[in-house]
Point group: C2
Chain length 229, copies 2
């Protein structure tokens, strides 16, 4: 059924910048466009917002439909509204960024209908629309946020070693960190629980596994605690 309005209305979409961490690198998940415009080019997963769903429902729905991802950390980023950002017509895009435990989801994305691939954030392919700007904004947000909120854990498996955590921070912030200082600080928060397991990687000494005490963090947060790396 067609719908009629007195004034022309912009179309409304959501686009998601999905970050993952693998191979010591920060990655972003892109899909290959099947339709014009920008057919065959890489773009962010996303699509039109239905009139009866919230923006974050729309973002989650598109993630499932286009990448098979669900139950991910998702946060609104920014709304992009340049007049000619879409060559077809006026389209406003509410951009989101998501953090996924790539270890859990790697297989899924590859087998889904749409052609989806992980790319290094530092050398992405040419992107459709203004999606390069959106990725840049998301990356900047992640770099800022990771310093004072324990969201890095969303990118790691539930059990991880301190070295993995450090390498994650080094990849996100694009810096080198001192091992001893990093461990001292991060353990000082008392939010990492040492498990009774270790992990062997290669032919080196096995590493202690930890998990993040999310429940404990939630309690502390209410009392004005700040996770500041």
């Amino acid at each position: 059924m067609p719908h009629t309005y007195q004034y022309p209305r912009a179309a409304l979409t959501v686009d998601c910048v999905v970050f993952g961490f693998d191979d010591g690198e920060l990655k972003v998940l892109l899909i290959e466009r099947a339709l014009e415009p920008f057919k065959g080019q890489w773009a962010l997963p996303g699509g039109f917002v239905r009139v009866d769903e919230t923006l974050d429902d729309a973002a989650r729905r598109e993630l499932v439909e286009e990448t098979g991802l669900k139950n991910v950390f998702l946060e609104q980023l920014y709304t992009f509204g340049e007049v000619y950002r879409d060559p077809r017509e006026r389209v406003i895009s509410v951009a989101w960024y998501a953090l996924v435990k790539l270890s859990d989801h790697k297989a899924k994305a590859a087998t889904d209908a749409a052609n989806a691939e992980w790319f290094s954030v530092s050398k992405p392919p040419r992107l459709a629309f203004d999606h390069a700007d959106i990725v840049a904004a998301a990356h900047a947000r992640l770099q800022g946020k990771v310093r004072y909120q324990p969201i890095g854990f969303e990118l790691l498996p539930a059990k991880f070693t301190l070295s993995e955590l450090q390498h994650l921070y080094e990849a996100i912030l694009a810096t080198k960190l001192d091992k001893r200082n990093f461990r001292k600080k991060v353990l000082g928060f008392g939010l990492l629980l040492a498990l009774k397991e270790t992990r062997m990687a290669g032919r080196s000494r096995p590493a202690q596994l930890f998990r993040f005490a999310a429940d404990k963090y939630e309690k502390l947060k209410k009392h004005g605690f700040n996770f500041e790396l």
Copy 2:
């Protein structure tokens, strides 16, 4: 001319949380709604986005139309998209926050067409729609941002005293600050220029006037400088 679309589309608006500082208090500018729904209630200045203007053009246009304010600091806050946030139909609102030098603009707002008034942020009136949530989000953003970006100056006249600056920070952050430490730190950045003037307030010792060296800050920022209060 009416416009027809295959799928129903949400309407798109912008809403602005305009902050000012006066009388030692952080204030927010509200307008009284002339039409239903929420007729007679206080609400944020804002309105529909035209199909041929960017989101920030729309926000600036609405500010001029409804409050007479122009050339203000304006930054996107968040996009609110609950399905029933407007009782008439689906309306997505891209919210912005603005900082104004109240000293310059006080008169204007009062004489404009719409009934506009400044309210204390800490005791606002009942607000239309979800505007109370928007104000709360803007306040939280301001509290966060003011710590690491020199945006406080947008709320003060071009010439100000250190005490005024301190009281501004105290009002925004809702804390007391130590006078000597505050002055030491803020002068330490080298971004405040002492003018050759003083200001007399009441029957006390005249205070040194300063202005913010915005140009100097812009240069430093490019080299990774951080204004951290």
